[in-house]
């Protein structure tokens, strides 16, 4: 039958007419539209799907949903390949390619399975115990262990797909679209609440699709379809399919990973493959369902052993028989319905093994009928099989469940359906700081009191009947709507369901003792290969805290977060410690609840979208001119403009010399600019700068230094007085944001009484520095309404006027130490002015210069920047001590008298030149007095700036050196041991060029 021997010709909710081809481990198979990879593999009779993590034991498909611990595959090939994908969560598409992982050469014959032979030598903590000594050899061990560790292969190529983010807001977020979730959505939606319903499947309905009984006399699926149609018609309802809510954060913030296009061979053009939703919900309903769990018994991991609910899902939803002949092993009533459905699907049910000595509830008994043998008070104690299950051994179990009675009975079967009870999915509740509580009747943790605005409904809360889930959902949805402000929300009537009668109590059974003499592995956690013996050993070794046990044994640390294994593991630990399960407690539940790809978390913040870039108004010109760019904060600044044939240093040298000998221009738009207005502006400046501002005239500017409250230098720059109550402050590029925040804080919080208004105008003005002995001549050609003569516009003068037709501001300031100006025009005219300046300066060979030349020029002049304004230097350290006014208060003044800041041995700004006049001074080097002193050699300073000075034709540097100003002429040593450098340096005045300032006043 089409190569699908385990597929029924009819039934299920798959499309039997749409065949899809796929390849698993190199073999072609067929499935149908609506299949998962797991259901299609089962239909084709593929039973061994994976090899286990530690022991490389063959594993099959264990579950049908997101709890799958075993069937992890390498999905797709090439750049889109993805490891550790649960086959149960992969929607089949035509051409799908998947491969088993963690095995070589094949899943059927895996050399790694040798690990099982030596497994007795590999207890928990094996690596720590074995490879810890000698410590020096750990890197060698690690090299080998790295290769053994991990599962699957990460792609080597860049991911070709898009991953996106989006924010969303709602009154009620409903997690899960099964019976409880849909009911909650109906209730909240009818109340008019804005809701989002997220379900991890391709269609809403959850268990209504195939497992649940009729509602209102019709198949449950039809009720679900009507509910979805009603919700779709509500304008305020957003239904999100293939969407896993994986994180519950503070203030009802939840994260959803939506698999937009994972069900396609590749996404449509511009379609994201996955989307991360960040939702802020007023109220949350958790209708996350419950997960069935297994038992611990000998060889309980063979392919063919499956959760009873999963086998039922494969039969009902996919028309797939998970085996030919099955045994059902249960401790509760739910597996009876499963057994009946399996029988109806054509699977021979050899027996139902019920751990309970008594009878099941009437509904379960009725479902099972009379044709199937039932063994009460029995348990499956061991299994047989080579690559997959062939038989199970069954024995009577005593009352306390710790010993077997009677003889073993063997059932041949290729399918064992296990149902050890149900764990409500309390993970999100617990992430929201709820504390799950242990329910003895259910032998499971159920949600405790809520801390955030959330409530659980349906089987997530421990309600396991269909009618109960629907009622629960209706009530929770209405309550959530009321809490979100829709006070009139009513609980809709619950539709009629079949009376399921009273279920018989379950028997809390975790672990079945092995038959005498049988020493086989009994797994607690299938994904991480943790056995009962491992848990018991850890307990004997003193790991009494469940959190420690988890980390020591790796119990629950797989991608399934211990969905099926954690609670049995806790039970085994509790018994081993002689404690109750509630005393042992649970481990902490943390996001992500389901695996989330890194790409989804990154979204579009990749490549040049990783962070935004700030560009000046002249950026386009710089690009065209072939500038190399350097990031300065988020700004991109031209570093140098290399001409064809020029090397980096040639360009920097040429640009630097041009400024000292003729004229250059530099884009300085990135400097921070703050507009200050108001009657108290001068007073404000007095308070924020160390120097005095009251007497600054209109049309003048002044250099200022500002401190933090602790007395350390914050920033420096010039401030100009444009009008009586109007100033313009400049800051360094790097500190623009920090200074603005500093000033805003003092104005808004500390001195609200000052009549001062500040606003950043950095972006409003394009700023161009014009520097060099010929700069005035260039300026004369640019403006005809300002007298730029030395007499009319002296050093530190400011004028407003027109430049190449554009109104702007002119500042006679200098960073380079040359005769220099800075022109500001509105940024929309920046490039126009730049080009006009180049034109006007043509005859003087005007030269654009970048940050490299700028850095050399200012170092030659001894101006401080980030290396010196490093958050540790005071104004006095930098030589500005005498600027500080004693006649006024200013921020940081009170701190200046602290002993640490007046210490004579503080590091002070000095100039450094190599003693031999030619060896480069290593930037960042440590300064010592004696390079040969034994370690630790006391460091008395550091090199903060260093360059080769084209104008002095020698390397120079700036440094901060203990009591540096008293060391003029002394020879010290700049050491950079990491680079193997050692340079004798002479301490000098930090101003190397024109210390009298004649040039800038020329």
């Amino acid at each position: 039958m089409n190569g699908q021997p385990f597929r029924n010709a009819e039934g299920g909710i798959i499309d039997h007419d749409r065949s899809l081809g796929f390849t698993f481990n190199g073999r072609r198979h067929q499935g149908f539209a609506g299949d998962t990879l797991a259901s299609a593999l089962l239909a084709s009779g593929v039973r061994r799907v994976a090899r286990s993590f530690k022991y490389h034991r063959p594993r099959g498909i264990f579950a049908a949903g997101e709890e799958e611990p075993s069937a992890l595959v390498q999905l797709r090939i090439g750049a889109r390949t993805e490891p550790n994908v649960r086959a149960t969560r992969v929607e089949l598409f035509d051409g799908l390619v998947a491969n088993s992982q963690n095995c070589w050469p094949s899943v059927d014959f895996d050399l790694g399975a040798g690990a099982a032979w030596v497994s007795r030598l590999m207890p928990p903590g094996f690596y720590y115990k074995t490879f810890k000594w000698p410590g020096l050899l750990w890197p060698a061990y690690e090299h080998v262990l790295r290769k053994l560790a991990g599962m699957g292969v990460a792609p080597r190529q860049a991911d070709p797909d898009r991953y996106e983010h989006r924010f969303a807001h709602c009154d009620v977020l409903i997690v899960g679209g099964g019976p409880a979730g849909l009911s909650a959505a109906i209730a909240a939606g009818r109340a008019g609440a804005r809701i989002i319903v997220a379900d991890d499947g391709p269609e809403f309905g959850g268990s209504l699709a195939a497992e649940a009984g009729p509602i209102d006399g019709a198949p449950a699926r039809e009720w679900a379809a009507v509910a979805v149609a009603e919700l779709t018609a509500m304008p305020y309802v957003t239904l999100v399919r293939r969407a896993s809510v994986f994180g519950y954060y503070d203030h009802n913030g939840l994260a959803i990973s939506e698999h937009v296009a994972d069900h396609l061979a590749e996404p449509l053009p511009f379609q994201p493959r996955q989307r991360l939703w960040m939702v802020r919900a007023r109220q949350v309903v958790l209708a996350t369902g419950a997960t069935e769990r297994s038992f611990v018994f000998a060889d309980n991991d063979r392919p063919g052993i499956m959760l009873a609910s999963a086998a039922r899902t494969y039969a009902n939803r996919f028309a797939v028989r998970a085996g030919r002949r099955c045994v059902v092993f249960t401790n509760n009533d739910s597996a009876y319905g499963a057994a009946a459905d399996l029988a109806a699907a054509g699977i021979e049910v050899a027996a139902v093994i019920d751990a309970r000595p008594g009878d099941p509830g009437p509904a379960a008994a009725k479902a099972l009928g009379t044709g199937i043998e039932r063994l009460a008070g029995h348990a499956v104690v061991a299994t047989r099989g080579g690559g997959a299950l062939t038989a199970v051994e069954v024995a009577p179990l005593n009352e306390s469940g710790d010993s077997l009675g009677g003889s073993l009975r063997r059932f041949d079967c290729d399918l064992l359906c296990v149902s050890g009870g149900w764990n409500p999915a309390v993970q999100l509740h617990a992430q929201a700081q709820g504390r799950p509580v242990y329910d003895d009747t259910l032998a499971a943790f159920v949600p405790g009191p809520s801390v955030q605005a959330e409530r659980s409904a349906g089987s997530a809360k421990g309600t396991f009947t269909l009618a109960g889930c629907l009622a629960d959902g209706m009530e929770a949805g209405a309550e959530a709507a009321r809490q979100a402000g829709f006070e009139a929300a009513e609980t809709p009537p619950v539709p009629a369901c079949e009376d399921e009668g009273e279920a018989a109590p379950m028997r809390a059974l975790w672990s079945v003792p092995p038959p005498p003499g049988l020493r086989r592995k009994r797994f607690v956690d299938l994904q991480t290969d943790v056995t009962q013996a491992d848990v018991e050993l850890a307990s004997r070794e003193g790991y009494k805290s469940v959190e420690h046990l988890k980390r020591y044994t790796t119990l629950g640390m797989g991608t399934d977060q211990g969905r099926t294994g954690n609670v049995p593991g806790l039970a085994v630990l509790a018994r081993s410690l002689g404690a109750d399960i509630p005393q042992v407690g649970t481990t902490t539940f943390r996001p992500p609840y389901v695996p989330v790809t890194m790409a989804t978390l990154a979204g579009r913040e990749i490549g040049h979208h990783f962070q935004p870039v700030r560009r000046s108004a002249m950026h386009g010109w710089h690009e065209t001119a072939g500038a190399a760019f350097v990031p300065a904060g988020l700004w991109l600044r031209p570093q140098f403009y290399a001409r064809p044939g020029e090397g980096l240093w040639d360009a920097i040298y040429r640009e630097t010399v041009a400024v000292r000998t003729s004229v250059g221009l530099c884009d300085v738009s990135t400097l921070g600019k703050i507009d200050i207005q108001g009657a108290d502006s001068a007073e404000f400046l007095n308070r924020v700068y160390i120097n005095a501002w009251s007497k600054l005239g209109i049309g003048r500017c002044r250099y200022g230094v500002m401190l933090r409250e602790d007395g350390i230098t914050l920033d420096d720059g010039t401030t100009s007085r444009l009008a009586r109550n109007h100033y313009l402050m400049t800051t360094t590029t790097a500190n623009a944001g920090a200074v603005m925040g500093h000033l805003e804080y003092f104005l808004q919080v500390v001195w609200p009484e000052l009549d001062v208004h500040i606003i950043s105008v950095t972006e409003e003005w394009a700023a161009i520095a014009l520097a060099g002995p010929d700069s005035r001549k260039v300026l004369e050609r640019l403006t005809d309404d300002i007298d730029v003569s030395n007499e009319a516009l002296p050093f530190m003068g400011v004028r407003e006027g027109t430049f190449a037709g554009v109104p702007g501001r002119l500042f006679r300031i200098s960073f380079s130490g040359e005769l220099a100006y800075e022109i500001n025009v509105p940024a929309d005219y920046g490039q126009h002015l730049w080009e006009a300046m180049l034109e006007a300066g043509k005859e003087f060979d005007i030269t654009p210069y970048g940050t490299e030349a700028l850095g050399i020029l200012r170092t030659e002049k001894g101006h401080v920047v980030g290396g010196e304004l490093n958050g540790r230097t005071t104004a006095d350290d930098l030589g500005f001590g005498r600027m500080a006014s004693s006649a006024k208060e200013f921020i940081g003044k009170r701190s200046l008298n602290r002993p640490g800041l007046t210490d004579e041995n503080r590091k002070q700004l000095v100039g450094l030149v190599p003693a031999d006049g030619k060896t480069a001074i290593p930037r960042g080097a440590q300064i010592v007095t004696d390079p040969d002193q034994a370690l630790p050699n006391p460091m008395i300073g550091e090199v903060t700036s260093a360059c080769y000075s084209p104008n002095l034709e020698t390397p120079i540097g700036l440094g901060i050196v203990a009591a540096g100003r008293a060391r003029m002429g002394e020879t010290l040593y700049a050491l950079s041991p990491m680079r193997g450098k050692r340079v004798a340096v002479t301490v000098t005045n930090p101003v190397f060029i024109d210390p009298e300032g004649e040039r800038l006043r020329a």
Binding site: R166, Q271, R604, E605, H609, E764, G805, Y829
Partner: protein, 207 residues
């Protein structure tokens, strides 16, 4: 004296009209257009002072709104609330320098500050049926019509860029104001995020 040159937008080089992305049958879900040539003035002053507000209205014909995140429009001028003492004045019919001068003069006897920031802001208008879905990709605000209403404004982020959002007119168009230096990055973000809906870049709006 040379002619006053044209203002040059930060998006001038990148701006290319046309239709892009996965355009559905019923046309692109997003329209993008830059608003150019605006006068944009930052106004600071005592919002609680009746006389100040009267002076503002007398000069502009437009109220300075006092309710947070609201705007007032009159006579081609719009005042957007930024803070209890701050507004952004946007005019499509004034020259920046004239407006700055006139408003400064009108407020000369009041505490306050008038600062021209016309060159320092780039304004991009986003319209179309998917406009709010597009913004939800990078802005954590609630764009539902009941929360972000016509004539509301808000300051937030888009991607990683500070943005002022203004639901203009009946709220179908949202104007985004960002710092000029970030304009190209913002444009790149928008055109990347809009691909899924299909988008058109329309001729820049003068004013």
């Amino acid at each position: 004296m040379p002619e006053m040159p044209q203002r040059c937008s930060a998006l001038f080089d990148a701006y290319q009209t046309g239709t892009f992305g996965a355009v559905p049958e019923d046309g692109p879900g997003i329209q993008l257009a830059e608003r150019r040539g605006l006068a944009i003035i930052h106004l600071a002053g005592p919002g609680g002072d009746e006389n100040f507000r009267t002076a503002v209205k007398g000069c502009l014909g437009c109220e300075a709104p006092v309710i947070p995140n609201t705007t007032a429009t009159a006579d081609g001028r719009c005042l957007l609330w930024l803070a209890p003492t701050r507004w952004l004045l946007v005019s499509a019919r004034d020259a920046p320098g004239d407006l700055e001068r006139d408003l400064s003069a009108a407020l000369a006897s009041h505490s306050g500050a008038v600062t021209d920031v016309s060159s320092g802001r780039t304004v991009i208008r986003v319209t179309g049926r998917d406009a709010r879905q597009l913004l939800a990709k990078g802005c954590p605000l609630d764009f539902h019509g009941s929360r972000f209403k016509p004539e509301n404004c808000a300051q937030s982020i888009l991607g990683a860029i500070n943005v002022l959002l203004h639901a203009t007119g009946d709220g179908t168009a949202i104007d985004l104001y960002c710092a000029r230096g970030f304009a190209l990055s913002m444009w790149e973000w928008l055109t990347d995020a809009a691909g899924e809906f299909g988008y058109s870049i329309d001729v820049a709006i003068q004013g």
